[in-house]
Amino acid sequence: MSTLAEVAGSTAAIGYGLAAIGPGIGVGLVFSAYIQSTARQPESSRLTLPYVWIGFAVIEALALLGIAFGFIWQGQL
């Protein structure tokens, strides 16, 4: 039987795609909460902004751990 199509590469790419879902939702929640709070109380926008970036950074770290570990433990398909 001849091979018509072949998939080659690293399974870590699939793993990273799955791992990015969670942080994606999380970052979305952070910014949606910020937009809502600013819409309800516009004068609080400067007060909450540092916490937005801290929350964003903490959540984003998970996605970035995914990138780093994807290269460390890459499996060949």
């Binding site: 590469g9 540092p50 970036w53 801290i54 970035l64 751990l65």
Partner: protein, 264 residues
């Protein structure tokens, strides 16, 4: 020009790999494999030189009506002092403003090499530099806490949250894990992985264009799209560069604030 693109298209190592981050030595010494002076080394020294010379020159003769250079230096310092240190730490934050400004400028400039033409790789895309910056911040917030509270009281406030006694066996390990193990690690990995992924992304789109032309000349329009994407992503990278410098500084400030906080 055609010759050059022909050579580039001839053998493009398409899926870019980790090896692309290990640049050859500029000055080979004891063989070509000794990486003692690469582009990375050069860029770090250049960053340090630019920062020292810029701040020395712009504060040499301070004017009441600031010159352009003085205005730039003052607004960078003022931004970090007012919008990061004082806002996060409070009135004690003024004492940390010089360190945080240095940190901010160093990370920003080091990250910026990732999108500056010709340089086009950030020294922070090697884990060593972010790791050392994180260790400095880590030691600093622990020492600041110990100096402020005393050794035992600092670890007591850092590790024992006000909670019922029966939940403490669960909470103390979690607090220890998050405050003393995850913090430096995530600080280093966040900066490193952002710069690493950014460089990788630009490599994928640049080399991908060449790989497509290489595979079939009819794919040339797709290559152009790929290179246009590279330019767009370079602007996105600028956002990431500024954001990561800001985030690293804000997180350091918030850890210092946590170490200085009197009660939970």
């Amino acid at each position: 020009m055609t010759g050059q693109s022909h050579v580039l298209a001839a053998d493009v190592p398409f899926p870019p790999s980790v090896e692309d981050f290990y640049l050859p030595s500029i000055v080979p010494w004891e063989g070509t494999d000794s990486y003692w002076f690469t582009k990375i080394t050069f860029l770090v020294w250049l960053t340090v030189a630019i920062l020292i010379i810029f701040f020395l020159v712009s504060y040499r003769k301070p004017q009441l009506v600031p010159t352009k250079k003085q205005w730039l230096a003052e607004s960078v310092y003022g931004f970090v002092r007012n919008n990061i240190s004082v806002e996060m730490i409070g009135h004690r934050g003024v004492a940390f403003a010089p360190y945080l400004t240095t940190l901010f400028c160093f990370i920003f400039l080091n990250n910026l090499w990732g999108i500056v033409p010709v340089a086009q790789i950030s020294p922070n895309s090697h884990i060593a530099f972010p790791a050392f910056l994180a260790i400095i911040s880590y030691l600093m917030f622990i020492l600041v806490g110990i100096r402020h509270h005393g050794f035992l009281k600092y670890f007591k406030t850092a590790l024992i949250p006000p909670a019922p006694w029966f939940i403490l066996p669960l909470l103390i390990p979690i607090e220890f894990f998050s405050n003393f193990l995850v913090r430096p690690f995530s600080l280093a990995v966040r900066l490193f992985a952002n710069m690493f992924a950014g460089h990788m992304l630009l490599l994928v789109f640049t080399l991908g264009g060449f790989a497509m032309i290489n595979a079939n000349p009819w794919f040339a329009p797709f290559s152009v799209v790929s290179w246009v994407m590279t330019i767009a992503l370079t602007f996105l990278e600028f956002l990431v560069v500024a954001l990561q410098a800001y985030v690293f500084t804000v997180l350091t400030a918030s850890y210092v604030q946590g170490a200085l906080a009197d009660e939970h």
